[in-house]
Subunit: 773 residues, 2 copies
């Protein structure tokens, strides 16, 4: 049993290590040669050039202005200074709203922590139950003295916990409701923002029925000319360009190799580079590498041209889906929200995702197939959650000494070496589990893709909810009740509905110290690691050293990364869950949660401003999920408190808790009805207002020209074939269309824009602090 | 324990009594003086005149054509003869689809019965488990020998039941899916039927936000002129005319009394009728009844005029809701399906219910209030279901001799009389429960009204689902596991999720004979009673004898009644549940279910053709509920079979059943996604097609004039004030607009319409069979 002193030591250690990380970060980030690692976003936006262009040689690599070392924590206020409207313009609404998750963590838990310490800690502490038990040789730590465990059975003091449970629930719901309203408002404002965007006018139509007499394109045109005669403008049929995209990717890879060999040759003119054509260049025929790659690229270029031709002309490559654009936002909003034909599985219309957000591969899956895929993935996820230990245990048994000797007897002499033996015994079993957990988000993402979602944002949302369930079952419940998930499931099936919360509730106070440690190691240290960006740092310098020849190469060597909603959000939710569950039970845990939320908020705000490059913009479409999961955590905490109290003999007071989950569930449906549609539907009034404004401002706008190519498959986008890498096509060519940043506009107009007002001068500090010493 | 012979005797008795009912019905219905009791629908449609108009005096009252007595069952084929399209025209889609519920009962259970008897009965019968147990003095009946109880524990024969469970599930789902498709098709066809109807063009707008500068009417007009500029036509603001309606009703009542006294006076001119003005005419001032009523009516007329004035002008009487009509069906379909403003709880648009279907009182409830009402009613219904025995037990204890003597000691001498005492002891406690059960549908309807639904059809649907839950808990579970619902709930809470199906499953075979008796008494006899229409028969003749003076009075004396979905459908669902649960357990029960469905189908078809007068037409909007409840029954049956088998030691085979509920739930979501939207949304293609057709056919249609008064509160509808009773206004003045019958058109065009084709001549038989002998 850990005492408060133990926890204090652990906290100090974790804080020190986090501090070391921060100092390392502070030192590394102001070195010019790391500039592209720590400020990639500004480069991608074209607002920052390599510092290597000018100045003395040393200055190119090392920051010699020692004053900047003194202010080594000044990134924190800098990160906090950018006002939210500017942040939305700079990084998109998704990122800005993602930050608000940490913020509501603070909003919820600051008052809860205060009241829990002001009310519950004294109530718990002024008992001597645990002292008495100590005499009976029951072990307990000082933390438990601050927790509900210290209250004797059947005490009237449990009323304090019940009242506080009501207060905490009320406060959490209040914050959630306010926040839902705020985010819904931000989303609508964002969608109705002054800029024209192709997805405002466009609807994705799927499951176009086959017609023997007409091509898909004709069919779509006729259908919408008939059924939306006043509004239909144009459409873009979806083609199956997956093979083409693959060829282009191959060509790009060969081109890279060619560059590499040419570089090698230019350095050492004496010897033409030689390579083998077989697997990984390990065997096969020996050929001249440069010639080989030139011929390969030529072959691929021809194939690409042929494929490009066939994709456009072959009716089989045309998928029964299309992006249909309308003359007005109103027309698109109407089409997206209505049912087109009697058969609700044909001519499915949905608001088109932003072009960057489209997941092209899934656009042509018919309804029945979707339903079957959903079922299969549901069953698969169930087994993944509850039985994932079985294959891992198998691998682990194989990875044991005996297992390996059995499977591959010829390895026996090597394995018997003492050092190797200990490595195998010590690491392999753990590595199997670790590998699985590392690949879990990828597995979940593949499952979501199989389910047939058509936008990257919905793929990530789906993966996130599955990951959350996995964490809930295997991390939260798994830590509280030992045993594999399946054993838990089995025991739950054999327990009564009354007993399950009791079983878990009783174990809750005991596990407080474990979760405190978990928060420090996974939360605090994890975030400090996030800001240091060790992996991108190392990879960038490696690439820079080995491959980079031109500015363009250097650009590609940057790995900005992005907020990955599918793994990040479920992890935050775990902290909400822990905070809410322990708020009434062991308030001692709450400050640790607070530190996590505060620290994470600052770090991620910095990362969003300077590093991450979002792949898409969904307009905060994930918020209903976030809201729902916090409410789930709230209900779990209420049920567990009921279970715990009922074992404490507080039979008198426990029934007063029954209303809580009922009210919370009601609150969920209330808030869902009130705000969810802002994330699903599109108000006509807004659309009409925008249309009218635009008509007045730009009466001669050529909308057809504007929309013509907005939803072309990325492979067809660029004319320069060497460039048509996905990210580039999206990141660069669309950026100016999609999420314009103020920086860019400032280039043309030197006066500061109105939104940021007086605070905008704060930004150049971050950007230019080591350019103008 | 009932043997098969016992059941046979009971069945014979029930059949004989049903047969007697049928003979009574056959005799009564062909007497001309009962014509208005057994054929009110034809009168209400104006297609049949009183047979009293012509012929000999005797013939007016008694049918003297003895040939018609011989064919006393000929109503049955007559009822079956009317083809479905004609039935829809005649009685509306709701009624026609309601009949299909019985039909799918037959479709599901005929093959199931056949296979259960062909496979399961032999499998069960060729064991001697129960024979052996009899030696051990365990009682069992012959019915149990045909049931699953006769199979020894751990037998391999359970595989037969598992395979059949799969087969039955597959078949049920198949029939349900086919039927869902069929009904969805019928609904869309009906909605798109050739006739123009006001609700095709109209949308109900609720929660119009208050505006200080504009009246509700101006606000609505401006909003829709701005946001639906090309489609908005006109609107009708909803007024709070509840007080006016009350006054009109009062006046009508007084008018009735006036008629009564005038009649009395005309019969006996000697004495002016005298009445007392106080409560129920029992005390108060004595006045001349005719003069009093004339003056009262005058006063009310004035009040009505004043109220009518004030309702139209007083801004407080204007509710923030309106019926908005559009120029095209397309415009209305678009508006009904889209969200209008950023705030999803303002400007709520919904497809307008048919004018007859509107529940006017609930049109002005704001969103928050709706959410709170829903919560309150949810909690109230929970207590009603699980704790309804508590107040009844209280009443019962009060209604006992001791209770009454305590509460009202002065009654003691009366109560102590032996006869009265035995009445009180024997009847009162039972009557309390009976009264509750009789009033339960009314209570549920009041709860639904409080919840704020805006159409009668949705009120009935809501009441139906609550009634179903009540029946499920208190009739089905209550019969299987004795004890009050609350005791069951308590024991379920204390049992594990595994044990609940076991507890119930084990009791299932034992209760087979009980449910067979229940089916015969409640099902068979109940339906035979339905066709005899004893209550309307008696009331009609009483009224006819006492009150009727003119043809109009006679019309009003008719009580056609209607299919009451809120009580009828949940009862049918109980038979689905019983059939599916016992299909694999005790196939002996299945033929009884079959007889019920077949008999009920014929009887209700007859009633719908000749008697019932539907109050509204919802276009079969209830079908998704029917579908859902059959699937719930299916899942319950699967879980109970799993529970039963697991207690039978069939541990090997039981796991194979787990996939069944998973697949069934998946099937539910699949079919819901596939067809439900046909009952909720309105395809634009259909609307556009209708619009185009209409524009071509009637280019000069004055739609505004047509729609102007369609959604006026019924109180304002009639010019003849004496007539403005709700039912009359709806039943008569709208009928020709809303649900046109072919009869009517045939009056003008003697050639049969195309739809019914050759089969149409069959109908006059039913109608005119005793007019042309």
């Amino acid at each position: 049993m850990a005492t408060i002193a133990d926890i204090g030591v652990a906290a100090a250690l974790n804080l020190i290590s986090a501090f070391i990380f921060l100092i390392a970060f502070a030192l590394l980030r102001i070195q010019p040669f790391n500039d592209r690692v720590y400020f990639p976003k500004w480069y991608l936006k074209g607002l920052r050039d390599s510092p290597t262009h000018a100045g003395a040689f040393v200055k190119k690599f090392v920051n010699v202005d020692f004053r900047s070392y003194v202010k080594f924590l000044n990134w924190m206020p800098a990160a906090l200074k950018m006002p939210e409207p500017e942040l939305i313009e700079h990084a998109g609404l998704d990122s800005a709203v993602y930050l608000r998750i940490y913020l509501i963590g603070l909003k919820i838990f600051v008052p809860i922590t205060f009241f829990a310490w002001a009310v519950l800690v004294p109530v718990n502490y002024t008992n001597d139950t645990l002292e008495l038990q100590k005499l009976l040789n029951v072990t307990s730590s000082d933390i438990d003295r601050l927790s509900i465990s210290n209250i004797p059975d059947k005490s009237q003091r449990f009323w304090a916990h019940i009242v506080m449970a009501y207060a905490f629930t009320y406060w959490t719901c209040y914050v959630l409701l306010k926040e839902y309203a705020k985010v819904a408002d931000m989303r609508l404002q964002f969608l109705a923002s002054a800029k024209r965007r192709p997805d405002q006018f466009t609807v994705l139509v799927r499951n176009v029925p086959p017609d023997p007499d007409e091509s898909v394109s004709e069919l779509v045109e006729h259908f919408f000319l008939v059924n939306h005669p006043d509004h239909y403008l144009t459409h873009q049929v979806v083609v199956n360009a997956n093979k083409l995209a693959k060829l282009v990717k191959q060509k790009k890879k060969k081109q890279n190799w060619l560059d590499y060999y040419q570089l090698k040759y230019s350095r050492n003119n004496a010897k033409r580079p030689i390579m083998k054509t077989g697997f990984l260049g390990l065997w096969g025929q020996k050929v001249d590498a440069i010639d080989y790659h030139i011929s390969e690229i030529e072959r691929l270029s021809k194939e690409i041209a042929a494929e490009r031709e066939s994709v456009v002309t072959d009716p089989k490559a045309i998928m029964p889906a299309a992006f249909v654009s309308f003359k007005t936002r109103w027309g698109a909003a109407v089409c997206a929200q209505t049912q087109q034909t009697r058969n609700p599985t044909l001519w499915l219309t949905d608001w088109a995702p932003e072009p960057r957000d489209v997941y092209w591969n899934n656009l042509a899956i018919p309804y029945v197939s979707l339903a079957v895929r959903k079922l299969i993935m549901g069953v698969a996820f169930f087994f993944l959650t509850f039985f994932f230990m079985i294959p891992i245990a198998l691998v682990q048994s194989l990875a044991s000494i005996v297992g390996i000797e059995k499977a591959a007897p010829f390895l026996k002499p090597i394995i018997e070496v003492k050092f190797i033996k200990s490595v195998i015994q010590g690491f392999l079993p753990g590595i199997a589990l670790k590998l699985f957990l590392i690949f879990l988000p990828t597995i979940l993402m593949i499952m979501s893709k199989f389910e047939g979602f058509v936008s990257l944002s919905s793929l990530e949302r789906r993966s996130a909810s599955r990951y959350y369930l996995f964490i809930l079952v295997n991390v939260f419940l798994g830590s509280i009740i030992t045993g594999s998930a399946f054993e838990q499931l089995d025991s739950f099936m054999n327990q009564s509905a009354n007993d399950i919360p009791k079983t878990i509730g009783v174990a809750i106070p005991i596990k407080a110290t474990f979760f405190i440690t978990y928060i420090m190691v996974d939360g605090w240290a994890g975030i400090a690691g996030e800001i240091l960006m060790l992996k991108p740092l190392i990879f960038y310098h490696l690439k820079n050293f080995l491959l980079v020849k031109t500015e363009k190469d250097r650009e590609e060597a940057m790995d900005a990364g992005s907020l990955s909603f599918n793994t990040g959000e479920p992890r935050i939710q775990l902290y909400f869950l822990l905070g809410l569950v322990y708020a009434t039970v062991t308030p001692f845990l709450l400050p640790f949660i607070l530190v996590f939320f505060g620290f994470a908020y600052v770090v991620f705000r910095h990362q969003i401003i300077n590093v991450y490059n979002q792949e898409y913009e969904s307009g905060a479409a994930f918020w209903p999920d976030v809201h729902k999961r916090v409410i789930v955590a709230l209900i779990i905490s209420q049920l567990l408190l009921m279970g715990l109290l009922s074992t404490k003999g507080a039979a008198q007071s426990t029934p007063f808790l029954i209303a809580l989950p009922v009210l919370t569930i009601w609150f969920y449906f209330f808030s869902k009805g009130r705000y969810e549609s802002a994330f699903v539907r599109n108000p006509l009034q807004e659309a009409m207002m925008k249309d009218t404004l635009e008509r007045a401002r730009e009466p001669n706008l050529n909308l057809k020209g504007y929309l013509q190519n907005a939803y072309v498959h990325p492979v067809f986008k660029s004319d320069d074939e060497d460039d048509d890498d996905y990210d580039m096509a999206f990141g660069k060519k669309e950026d100016d269309v999609l999420v314009p940043t103020k920086r860019q506009s400032r280039r043309n107009t030197p006066v500061p824009s109105k939104i940021s007002g007086g605070s905008s001068p704060s930004l150049p500090e971050t950007v230019q602090e080591h350019h103008e010493p």
